[in-house]
Structures are given as C-alpha cells and as structure tokens.
C-alpha cells in the first residue's frame, strides 16, 4: 500500500446495512423497500409518484408495469464485499462509509434510539472486518427524546472506527438553525466528531414546474434541489450564529458545499446591506463572515463532477479542506458493467487532476491526504472518551 500521504480516500460513500434494509422492507409508507416475484433486486421507493405506481401494482389495477417503481437496491447498496470490490476497482484505499438518506428521519420516537444503536453497531462491525480500509460516520436518532440523543452520542464516541455523524437538514424538525440543536453540536464538537451534512429533501416540487415529472427525470431535484438544500441549511446556521456559538464545530459539506462557495460573496453583500440586520447591530466590525466559516469550520467534499466548481470550492475553503468522494452506490453507469469503472469516480478524479495537476501535492491532499489528517484515519486512534 502507498504511503499515508498518497492514500486515496472516499469520504462520500453510502451503505444500507441489512438491519436498515429489513426496516425499510417492513414499512407500508415511503420510504420503503419492496420485493417483486422473479425480479432479482428489490426496489427502493422514496418519491410520492413512485408510491402511487406501487399502489396500482399492489391493488392489481396495473398488472403489467413496464417499469417497476423506485430504484433497484443492488448488492452495491448492502454488500460489504461489493463495496470493497468497488474500492479495489477504483484504487480507493480507505472509505468513510455512511448510511444514505433519509437515515432515521422516519423512525418513531420510541424506537429511534435502539434503531440507531443497531445501525451504528453494524457499521462498526463492518469497519472492524476490513481493518484499515473502512471508517464511518454514525447516524443519530434525531426523532428520539433528548436523553436518548445524548445517550446515542455517548455510544458512538466509543466506537473505534467512528469519525463523525451524517446529518440531514431537518434536524429535530425545525432545521439546523434550531437553538435546541446547539447542545448536540457542542457534544459532537467536544468529541471531535465531524458532521457530514447531506441533503435529502431538496426543494418544494412546485419549483420544478409542470413539465418536470414527466419529462426531466430526476435531474432537477438531484442536480439542483440537493445542493440548494445544503446551501440553505448552512446559511441558516450561519445567520443563527451557530458557528460563533460552537467555534469547535466542524462540518463536512456534501457536493462541495452545495453552492456556498459560489454564493458566499452575495451572502456577505446581502448581510452588509440588510437594513434590518444593520439596525439590530448584527452587522459590524468583528463579526464572523461566511468566508471565515468556509476557511475555518467547514470542509467540502469534491463530489462536483467538474474542475470549474472544484476550483471555486478550493478558492473558497483552501486546498487543505477539500476531500475526494464518489457518492457510491448512487449514479451507477447506465451504459457499462456495474462491476467496472464508474463515471462518478472518474469525473470527480479528473476534476481534481485538472484543477490541481495530476499527482501534484494539492491533488494528493484532496484525493486522500486531507481526509487522513482531518478525520484521523489511523488504526491506532484513541477515542476522546470522557471529554464531553
């Protein structure tokens, strides 16, 4: 294996462990997983339109569906051997795996704590079975009562391969600028657990217009809704003062920050020119800017599929804060073998080479060096233990 500094690390890569698949198979409302007789892979149904199609099949009013609803849950989603095969095929030394959206957002309050514990234990065991190759971001039981949430942080901070948590944008139901989340942010920061912020809900579907559902596939919600959701969530945290309140908070933002690097200048201008904020004295010398947040408290993944965006992300946060990722197992190749090379890997890798030069020091940092340093991807890691 290559030296630490030239390791390739994938920090944006998802797994659905068997316990999560079973949970989704037991559900009657979306999100759910359904098996069909004679069809190899079960289907994962998450969108309302897909649920309607499923109802027609279940009720017998659609007896010969041309396309099964949802997306196939292939072995890429649930098999550790397949994950390791993907890594080997693409020269990835280490993966920091995480549960995919929508995590445990739909789980009832009373069972969320136990469910999170079983999922996080499953991730922990997966990592232990491939020592040195896998670390993970844990899942929080956000629908559970506060004491359960605190206990969950207590559990994950003791897990040897856990380096943070994956978090959606809904928080406890009111978004990430909810003041009730500040103690959670403090506990995570005190235990050096990085938040991997990931979108799921996108934007209200009306913004895509009347032609989207029939004609544009999933392009608009995925290509625009996802990064815009992330941007809005971080901007709300910024305006709420979360980054000031918890200076040790560290967040890794999916999809290179959504659109934050591109819009940071406009955010600063709108803050500085807002009569309401200026009158309230929230704008003035010494206040933390969004640029400071980008350079001091935020890391960005490099899942952006072009050097144009990647350069802007590097300009905004610094080459030492970008981390390569693939988004595997999403976006499988449609015109080639799923066991071969994925464009989601090659496009993002090419963007790094084009932006920084192939095999340059910067490219090596983005491809893995930063992740090893920032997330402490060493076997011998000692947990923070009793700091929180």
């Amino acid at each position: 294996m290559s030296s630490t500094s030239s390791k390739v690390v994938d920090i944006h890569t998802h797994m659905y462990p068997p316990a999560y698949v079973e949970l989704l198979e037991s559900r009657k409302a979306i999100p759910l997983i359904r098996r069909f007789p004679g069809v190899k892979d079960p289907r994962y149904v998450i969108l309302p339109a897909e649920a309607e199609a499923l109802d027609k099949i279940t009720s017998g009013s659609d007896t010969a569906p041309t396309n099964l609803p949802g997306r196939p849950i292939t072995t890429h989603f649930s098999s550790l051997a397949q994950k390791l095969h993907f890594m080997d095929t693409h020269g990835i030394d280490i993966s920091v795996i995480s549960l995919a959206n929508p995590w445990l957002d739909f789980v009832a309050s009373e069972s969320a704590g136990e469910t999170a514990k079983s999922i996080n234990t499953a991730f922990s065991e997966m990592c232990a079975s491939a020592p040195g190759r896998l670390f993970f971001f844990a899942t929080l039981p956000l629908t559970a009562p506060p004491e359960t949430l605190v206990a969950a942080i207590g559990h994950i901070k003791g897990l040897k391969y856990c380096r943070g948590v994956i978090l959606g944008t809904s928080g406890l139901g009111k978004g990430l600028d909810d003041a009730s989340l500040v103690p959670v942010y403090r506990a995570l920061a005190a235990n050096r657990l990085t938040i991997f912020l990931h979108p799921h809900y996108g934007l209200p579907s009306e913004v895509w217009g009347p032609r989207a559902t029939e004609e544009y596939g999933h392009v608009l919600p995925l290509a625009l809704g996802f990064p815009m959701e992330t941007t809005i969530a971080v901007a709300r945290m910024f305006l709420a003062g979360v980054f000031d309140a918890v200076p040790e908070l560290r967040m890794l933002l999916a999809h290179s920050g959504g659109t934050l690097p591109f819009l940071a200048g406009r955010i600063e201008s709108c803050v500085a020119h807002d009569g309401h904020l200026v009158r309230e004295g929230r704008v003035g010398p010494g206040r933390r800017t969004i640029w400071q947040v980008l350079k001091e408290q935020v890391y960005l993944d490099a899942v952006i599929y072009s050097e144009v965006g990647l350069k802007a992300a590097i300009d905004a946060s610094g080459v030492d804060r970008l981390m390569f990722g693939t988004d595997h197992p999403f976006f499988p190749p449609l015109n080639s073998d799923e066991q071969g090379e994925w464009e989601s890997m090659t496009w993002n890798k090419q963007a790094v080479s084009k932006a920084l030069g192939a095999d340059s020091e910067g490219a090596r940092a983005v491809m893995g060096g930063n992740a090893v340093e920032v997330l402490r991807l060493y076997e011998e890691e000692q947990q923070a233990g009793d700091e929180a």
Copy 2:
C-alpha cells in the same frame, strides 16, 4: 472619453420611470407604492408581511409605526439625473438600463400592451436624452394576449436604444420552459434582442424556516432565493430543449448565472446518469451539454461580489462572455452617503481586478468591452428591422 475597448459599462442597473411609479401608486394590492405625510420618499411594498404592516397603519390600529413598511423609493429609482450622477461618481461610461422586478407581471391582460408601450417609450426617451450614455432592455407585456405580445416585439425592435428585453422567470405563467414561449424566443433572436434573465419570485418561503422572517432580514430570499430561481429557470429551459430549438437565442443571466457555473458539472452528471432520460434516448452522443449552452448561448453578468464566484463564471463561459454590473439602485450603502461611493460597485469591480488583474485585457473586456461588442452599444446602430 476613453476608447471603446476601455469603456466601463453597467449592464445590470434598474430604473422605475414615472409611468411605472404612477402605476404602482394607483394599486391597492402588492406590489404598490404608498406615500406617507411628512415622509420624503414614498415606500415600495412588495412582500406579504409588509402589506400586513401597511394594513395596520391604514386601518389606524398602528398609529405610531417604528418602521414604515417596504423600502424607500428614493430618487435613485426614478431620476435620470441621479442615474447619471451615480454613473459619473463611479466612472461608468454607459448604462444599459432596465425596469426592475416585478416588471408587468401583475398588470391585467387588457392593459398590459399599452402599459408596456408607455414604459418602453419612456426608456427610449431617457436614452435619447443622454445619447451615448444610455441603452436599455425593454419590457414585454407577458400577461397580454399572444397578438399583443407579438406587436410589442414589433414596437421595441424599432426603438433605437433598445438592445433586448428583461425577463422574469414566470413567462406566461408556467415558467420559461413553456413550449408556448418558443415563438417569442424565436422572434427575439431573429431581431438580435438579448434576453436579460432576472429573478423576482425566489423560492417558497417555507425553505427559509421559522426563524427567517424575524431574525435574518431579507438575506436568505435575496442572497439564495434569487440566484437559485435563475438557475432553476435556465436548467428547465435546457432540459426542455429550448436552446436546441432556438440556436440563435442569447441570454444574459443575472448574478453570474445564479449558481449555474458551479452546478454545471452536477447537472451534466445527473443527466448522463438518469435512467428515464437515457431510456428515452434524450442522452447520447451529439446532445447539447449545459457547458455548450454556457459557452455559446449565455452571457453572465459580473454581479457576484467576490472573485471566487467570478472566476468560476469565467471558467464556465469564457472571459469574453462576462459583463460588469452594479444592480443600482438596490443595495444602497447603509453607513455612508448615498451620493458617494457604493460598495455594490466597488466589491464587483474589485472582484474583476482580483480575478483577472487590474487593467488587464480581460478586466477591460469584463468591465465594458464585452458589453459594447455583444450588445452593440454604438450611437449609429442600425436596427434589424424587417428580419423577423
């Protein structure tokens, strides 16, 4: 005056001519302009929350408002002398003025044609009164019947200083990917009238969360909602095939394309990986990519307030497709004299210098050279006349 190539041109700068102010003063529902006794500037009320505050004052239930609702319509909005003063203060040689949002979106169908004609005539006369200093983007009566809309294009194509139209994202009510708009795009393209695409509606307010209205001023809708709205509108046009259907269409996108340069890579990846689009054969060799649209059919203004975003815009579209703008009279300085220097000018100008080098060839192109060439900002311009 300096040579053509080093002229400074502001292509994003708004005016409310007296006819438009009178129209807004006559209205009882938002958007409206209201005068208050003893208060110098009338107030422009556009948001539902501002309308509620206005109702309380009008009904007498709020007799001592601490803040008048809406924003002051200073002379910066309606006075040509003030516009010229702003230009002189900031070294702007030429301004391409346009009506500000929401244009004529609220005007009844039967009067929209006449209203547009009077507004466009007023702009035309303003430009003629300061020859060589002013050109304009006209306003279309989008709520009018189709024949009125066609007649309006016939009117504006004969106006000496008109170089295009300013357009919001609602189109005829169904967005800019509405197939009914294709003939309008064709007529504009045939007359070399550039579309200046500008946001107004932002995103549904629920995305800003429960704290936004009270605590975050107008930052989120303006800083994020505006550019996201623009991005969504262009992506919908792209997916609808508008740029293929009208290859001569030219669009100038406000705020450096919203977030399009940053998200273009993700858009391409989502298109290439969309099972629905691939099955329909809409994805394959030879299709026009969003990168081609950015480099061949789109221009971007440089109203982005930072070199990080500006560089990405240049990387995406080319240094010959960026055009400086100020967004005057919006975002006035809050801590200094409105007759002096505006940060909206200096921040955007500094971004150009930092991205391209002060006084470099590229900087001169972005600061004005591109606009002079692309929009034909010459006194002696011959109109296309009977081309359409």
